[in-house]
């Protein structure tokens, strides 16, 4: 039995004066999942999360928490809670008092509060002596954990995150992303995370919702978003990608610019079809493209010149300019790196199982 949605958005519209930030949004969030809403800045994701948390009200539409309508319920009466981008810790209170804040509001006794605060310090791998520290004595990563502990102390049905990791340096961010994912598994709570960073979304989420100009472009599990984007926007947003403009032919096959297509790779029986005369984009990720040695073949072949190579640590990325002037990205693991020189003529190939057709809408 599929899990019941814990939160359901129906036809949500948010306008600020003449500007429409959210256009008729529908969304279902499943109990216990880790959903990440990703989009470029200005796409409406912050507006959306403020509606979900209850800081703002939608102009139109309904929000259901299980079977209760909550779009007009103020934030302090909702059983949900958010970790703010700024973290919004209370600077005049100690770490312990910050974590205990929601319990104090609820009127729990001091001993019960402290017990719970220490449990949460444990859960977030903070030593107990943090209890009496002041907020300004804590580092950025420690503050993240304190903000998280305070939100968990509230024991929310859904925990929202408004890009809380964006201000941290790269290494700490990577570490906390994994911790957050572990925490999600251990607590079993529903997490809804918003970010403009694709990598953050990929690491943590069960499902990803891509937002663009106040609408959802695609909502799907992480792998599908990566391998089967619904549009060029999603494909390009989700990391490096190679796109070839293609057109359906009368014989049911494909004709592309800059790419040689083997007859059996497209058309009937494959996924790579287009109605005759319509446009599409053939997508292949850089790691699925390989350098062909003489005598080797592939479903799709591109000839060009190696223009640059970039060492990315565990991987190496190559920039190849095809004979039609199209730039392609190729990525290889470090131990499989291509032994060629910039300026060499190269032949690239990739296979049908690694490609995806984006149909123009």
């Amino acid at each position: 039995m599929p899990p019941e949605p814990i939160l359901r958005l129906e036809n949500i519209v948010k306008r600020f004066g003449a500007f429409t930030a959210l256009h008729h949004i529908d969304l279902e969030i499943d109990e216990g999942e880790f959903l990440t809403i990703v989009g470029p800045s200005g796409c409406g994701k912050t507006t959306l999360i403020r509606l979900l948390v209850g800081i703002d009200e939608p102009t139109e539409g309904r929000i259901w928490l299980r079977d209760k309508r909550i779009e007009k319920v103020p934030a302090n009466l909702r059983p949900t809670c958010m970790v703010f981008q700024s973290l919004a810790l209370f600077p005049h209170r100690s770490v312990g008092e910050n974590i205990e804040f929601p319990l104090k509001i609820r009127g729990e006794t001091a001993s019960r509060r402290k017990e719970r605060a220490l449990e949460l310090l444990d859960l977030l791998h903070l030593p107990h002596d943090f209890y009496d520290k002041r907020i300004n004595q804590c580092s950025g990563g420690e503050r993240q954990r304190i903000a998280l502990a305070r939100a968990l102390a509230f024991d929310p049905e859904i925990l929202f995150f408004d890009e809380p990791l964006s201000a941290l340096d790269f290494r700490l961010r990577k570490k906390l992303e994994k911790e957050l994912k572990d925490l999600h598994e251990r607590t079993g709570k529903t997490f809804v995370y918003i970010t403009h960073s694709l990598e953050e979304a990929m690491v943590m989420s069960d499902r990803i919702a891509i937002m663009r100009q106040g609408r959802f472009e695609q909502i799907a599990v992480t792998d599908e978003i990566y391998a089967r984007p619904i549009s060029r926007f999603v494909a390009e947003f989700m990391g490096e990608v190679n796109l070839f403009d293609v057109e359906g032919t009368a014989s049911g096959g494909l004709r592309g610019r800059g790419v040689e297509i083997q007859a059996n790779a497209t058309g009937g029986g494959t996924e790579l079809t287009l109605p005759q005369g319509t446009q599409g984009a053939l997508m292949v990720r850089p790691e699925s493209v390989r350098f062909l040695h003489p005598g080797q073949t592939a479903d799709f072949i591109v000839r060009g010149i190696l223009r640059a190579s970039y060492a990315l640590g565990s991987r190496t990325q190559y920039k190849v300019e095809s004979s039609e002037g199209i730039e392609l990205a190729v990525e290889k693991l470090r131990q499989d790196r291509f032994m060629g020189n910039v300026g060499d003529e190269v032949v690239l190939g990739f296979d049908m199982q690694n490609t995806h057709m984006i149909r123009e809408r």
Partner: protein, 284 residues
């Protein structure tokens, strides 16, 4: 480089230091010395005794002191209650309108305090603006609202309004919106947000505003004289009388010193409790 910086700093501080020593510390020292002289002398060439301080209790001057402190305290509390909602709106709700209110309040300071208080005398006195009109239109006559303690407090509230309002606005604008929203998100009601977030985080502004109004109010003279008509005698009035009609400089000095000690220790205590750098927008 650092040494020459320090030298420049020292040199540039010299003029103001000299001026302060001469104009501020020296007179204070004279007052301090006079306060320990025997009564009714006009030179410092006498054997010190502390008889002038004893007069505070024996001749009931302590009552004037209490009236001053009491009216100042009442005015401070009232001002806090009146100014908080307006200051909150100016800091968090109004946008361009805040500037309008600021200018409107500041403009009142362009007119001398005494003239503004006389305006209130003409408004509130028997036969004045209010009572006169009421009598003329509806034939209702009363004794006017002047010459009592509440009107003195009203005068203090009126005159020191800006001194509470602006520090409060500054203090409240230091409360991050995020902290208020986070508190609400964590279940706090408006009242709980006020007690747990607004009040502690705007404390520097509250302390500064309260100190300003209390200190100025405790030393105020014009309100009790003009509006109060000496219904009660405040300590500043007693000090003035001691120096002028009373011709008792040691008494006036002793009363001044007592007032300075009370207010000074209060101010030092208050300022030590708040982060002045923060309210001035400076980072340490």
């Amino acid at each position: 480089m650092e040494r020459s910086d320090r030298k420049i700093g020292f040199l540039s501080a010299v003029p103001i230091t000299v001026i302060l020593m001469l104009s501020f510390t020296a007179p204070l020292l004279v007052v301090l010395l006079f306060s320990v002289m025997p009564p009714k002398v006009f030179t410092l060439a006498h054997v010190p005794d502390f008889s002038s301080y004893g007069v505070l209790f024996s001749q009931g001057y302590y009552r004037s002191l209490l009236w001053s402190l009491g009216t100042a305290l009442a005015a401070t509390v009232l001002l806090f209650l009146i100014c908080w909602p307006l200051a909150f709106a100016m800091a968090k709700v109004f946008k361009g309108f805040t500037l309008f209110i600021t200018v409107a309040v500041v403009i009142t300071l362009f007119v001398s305090e005494n003239i503004r208080l006389f305006g209130w005398v003409l408004t509130l006195m028997k036969g004045g603006l209010i009572e006169g009109h009421l009598r003329a239109w509806v034939g209702w006559s009363f004794e006017g609202a002047l010459y009592n303690v509440p009107v003195i407090i009203f005068g203090l509230v009126y005159v020191y309004f800006p001194f509470m309002l602006f520090p409060l606005v500054q203090g409240i604008s230091m409360v991050p919106d995020d902290a208020r929203q986070a508190a609400a998100d964590l279940g706090a009601t408006r009242r709980q947000i006020f007690w747990e977030v607004d009040l502690p985080l705007s404390a520097p502004g509250i302390v500064i505003g309260s100190l300003l109004t209390f200190v100025l109010g405790a030393g105020a003279l014009a309100e009790s004289k003009l509006l109060g008509g000496q219904a009660v005698i405040v300590i500043a009035d007693e000090i003035e009388t001691a120096f002028t009609y009373g011709q008792n400089w040691p008494l006036g000095s002793a009363l001044s010193i007592i007032l300075i000690i009370i207010i000074g220790s209060l101010a030092v205590f208050g300022v030590s409790r708040v982060d002045l750098d923060k309210i001035m927008g400076r980072r340490r």
